[in-house]
Amino acid sequence: MSEAADTATPSVPPAAPPGRNSIYRHGLIVRITHWVNAGALAILLMSGLNIFNAHPALYWGEQSHFDRPALSMQAVRGPDGTSRGITTLGPLTIPTTGVFGLSGASGRQEARGFPAWLTLPSQRDLASARHWHFFFAWVLVLNGLAYVGSGLASRHVQRHLWTPLRELKFIPHEISNHLRLRFPQGEAARGYNVLQKLSYFGVIFLLLPLIVLTGLTMSPGLDAAFFNALPTMFGGRQSARTLHFIAAAALTGFFIVHVGMVLISGVGNNLRSMITGRYVLPQPKVRPPKPEAAQ
């Protein structure tokens, strides 16, 4: 779109001024679906945590063995009468007062899994949280199908997200580059590096389908469809609920690393490329000559 505008107004200098290697990086559908996805995932995560708070415990298997949760967040009253928040993870008991199990302004702390600032709505409201969650689940799925459909048709997925086997050998090199916060420059920055390809592909084709399918498995209506294939696939409804939670945690981890990388590898350039599509290839830094001493 912006390219059309460029050609239509020849008086404006070309979008890629000489020496600033500007490329058209993200197509319109990628940009739109990216931001819809970001918004939907944020709402799904926060409303999901509110739903979790209705029964802040996870189990493995078909049903809930209340005496042995895989994870639980609860408030317990100590011998001195004060409440504290604890999180149990298998055999471990971790004090988490203020964050998990018990949180809120001092003096008005309440027993709840995740704190109010992480849930949608903030207060405990399972009915509303379910409405948010199930509405934006449709948004997530339809948006994801639009993205994958157009990405396959345009061969964006095959060309830019799929990792050719020969690139796998760059993984150690890329990890060391990332750890030293060295990012590709010039022509090498044109495409995604191998870690980007693997993580984007993993999120889009493994993690997001996993979270959708485990979400569907929690539905008794759909469990009765497909000859009970959904709960069978995940080892039971409670396992599916636990996997749904783990997938949400993994997506949150991806989000944190993703935003971190966006921030430190040129936040303006990165954001612009996902808004207007235009991306300036970072040029290798030429060591500037020592500045002359101030006069």
Binding site: L120, F134, P220
Partner: protein, 256 residues
């Protein structure tokens, strides 16, 4: 300079986040926005039923899978005097009323209910809160009961009126109620359960009779069922949304 910009950026981000949260909370409290969000439930019902076959069964388990401690939720010990009187007499005076849009209104004793075509099933109970328990249920098939009463062609829903009382508007007590449509009413696993795990239904689980509607969440499985009313609409009953929890914001279609 750079630091200031960064701090500004972080500040702006926090401000936007706060505004978004406040906005979402305000939106969440708006009934019309909730109605907009809940509009997806029609899609959920139709979508699920597209993949369910009409008589497709919920998964059934073996006796070894039965929960050692099946959690009782909602009302577990009704205090309504009429219910306590029935309980004191071992439900000998209990009569399940079937009325509304039927050709032959019924009032069945437990013995008569037990004489109807029955089904035993070991199924998983999924609470809207997120937990699941497995139990064995025996009860009269609702479809057979409806055939006996003869549904009028105009009947679209079945409303289950229950004995347990809950807080309604301030100072007011209301009875629990639930409703289902005929699609689920005629499903083979939809039963009026009078036995649980091989023994008469305990009070905590809805004695003497509770509904089992295995393809939906726990709150649809009305306990302490006293009367089944066939009706063509739901808007004239209580809050008009088709159930106690539905009147408090929960989805009428609870297959999700």
């Amino acid at each position: 300079m750079k630091l200031d910009r960064r701090r500004l950026f972080a500040g702006a981000l926090a401000a936007v986040g706060g505004l978004l949260m406040g906005g979402c909370n305000r939106l969440s409290a708006s009934p019309s926005f909730q109605d907009f969000l809940i509009s997806a439930q029609g899609l959920n019902r139709r979508g699920q039923r597209l993949f369910q076959t009409r008589m497709g069964l919920a998964q059934e388990f073996s006796a070894a899978d039965i929960s050692p401690a099946f959690r009782a939720n909602g009302e577990t010990n009704p205090k309504a005097p009429a219910y306590l009187a029935l309980l004191a007499n071992g439900f000998a005076d209990y009569r399940l009323k079937v009325d509304g849009l039927v050709d032959r209104p019924l009032a069945l004793s437990l013995e008569e209910l037990r004489a109807l075509p029955a089904r035993t099933q070991i199924t998983r109970h999924d609470c809207v809160e997120g937990w699941s328990c497995i139990g064995q249920w025996t009860g009269a098939q609702l479809g057979a009961l409806l055939d006996k009463a003869g549904l009028k062609p105009s009947a679209r829903y079945l409303v289950f009126h229950c004995a347990d009382e809950w807080d309604g508007r301030p100072g007011q007590r209301v009875h629990y109620y639930e409703s289902i449509d005929l699609y689920d009413a005629h499903h083979p696993q939809t039963i009026l359960a009078y036995d649980m795990n091989g023994a008469p239904l305990p009070v905590a689980h809805g004695a003497p009779v509770r509904l089992r509607i295995e393809r939906q969440l726990g709150y649809k499985h009305a306990k302490y069922v006293m009367r089944i009313e066939a009706t063509d609409r739901l808007d004239h009953i209580a809050g008009g949304k088709g159930g106690f929890w539905e009147d408090r914001g929960y989805e009428w279609y609870a297959g999700i």
